[in-house]
């Protein structure tokens, strides 16, 4: 199985938040992006769950992972990227 990359994750997040491609950097957090409120965060996680084919629904720490580094850390911890 080909693993998704960090870039794939950023693209998914940008699409979920409906913001232009290339906006989000690897160190971005929710506070710096207006669209990334609690509902936006749910959209992000739902989009990532689709990207990872349903494999992230049980990763509880993602609920509080309000930054790109925290999201990537959780995904790496579960060997998804």
């Amino acid at each position: 199985m080909i693993k998704n990359t960090e870039k794939d994750v950023l693209i998914s997040i940008e699409k979920a938040l409906e913001i232009p491609s290339g906006t989000i950097q690897l160190d971005a957090d929710a506070e710096s992006i207006e669209a990334w409120d609690s509902l936006g965060h749910l959209s992000v996680l739902t989009a990532l769950d689709m990207l990872f084919e349903g494999k992230i629904a049980e990763i509880n720490e993602l609920g509080e992972a309000s930054s790109i580094p925290k999201i990537l850390e959780a995904l790496k911890k579960h060997s998804l990227i």
Binding site: S38, L39, H41, L45, D49, I56, A57, I59, G63, E64
Partner: protein, 241 residues
């Protein structure tokens, strides 16, 4: 003497509606926005419309601005402040209106409409008591949040024209099975137009034992995903063939 306040309600096309509201008038929510979008999706030609439980009048007004309401826009609410605020908001946007105060369909006994939109959605009484959504606004929907809404669903078809459509929200902080069963018993067709999940707000998260009990009893429906507790709104369109 009403203490008015101003609020801006965002529409999906990056516009905002400026609304006058007051204590005792329900503030529009994410469910309100979903309801507006659902009607816009399904209704393309101007239609006679009733905004039932109009609050600030935002639903009818948004649809009027979309050009899909035949004049006058009809709206009603149990709350006198809501009727007053709706009139102010309709006048602000030069929307011809007929606004009445009354319970459910009582103000409209001899009327039929092409479209009825109902933004009256009950939630379980115990959840309503914990949340700030209904501050000062009546929410007498019973233990499972359905008692008001089932009455509306049962009666709605009497106030629809032959091809009329009834749009209503179902919120999973109430007994959704009761609501959908009532709708399916009252209409030939009941179709879901949209669905949105929401994270449980912080003010409710502190009451998880109660919420879990209500969930176990089937009074509400919660899901746990990504470490979040989620509830949902679904918007339905019901009609008779």
């Amino acid at each position: 003497m009403l203490k008015f306040k101003e609020l801006n309600f965002p529409l999906s096309d990056n516009r905002e509606i400026a609304l006058t509201s007051a204590p005792g008038v329900f503030s529009p929510t994410g469910t309100t926005k979903l309801l507006i979008e659902a009607v816009k999706q399904k209704i393309v030609d101007p239609a006679s419309l009733l905004d039932l439980g109009c609050g600030t009048g935002v639903v009818g007004l948004a649809l009027h601005l979309q050009g899909i309401v035949k004049s006058p826009l009809c709206a009603s609410d149990l709350s006198e402040p809501a009727v007053i605020c709706s009139e102010i908001n309709f006048k602000r946007y030069e929307c011809p209106f007929d606004v009445r105060q009354g319970s459910l369909f009582e103000p409209w006994l001899d009327h039929k409409f092409d479209v009825i939109v109902d933004d009256i959605s009950g939630i379980s009484r115990e959840v309503a008591d914990l949340s700030s959504w209904f501050q000062g606004v009546p929410c007498e929907s019973g233990e499972d949040g359905t008692s008001l809404v089932v009455d509306i669903i049962r009666e709605a078809s009497k106030y629809l024209t032959g091809n009329g459509r009834f749009f209503f929200p179902v919120i999973s902080l109430s007994n959704v099975d009761v609501l959908l069963d009532t709708a399916k018993n009252s209409f030939d067709t009941v179709e879901m137009v949209s669905r949105q999940e929401w994270p449980l707000p912080d003010e409710l998260k502190q009451h998880m034992p109660l919420l879990e009990r209500l969930n176990d009893e089937g009074i509400i429906k919660l899901e746990k995903r990504f470490g979040l507790v989620l509830w949902y709104t679904e918007i339905y369109c019901a009609y008779n063939i």
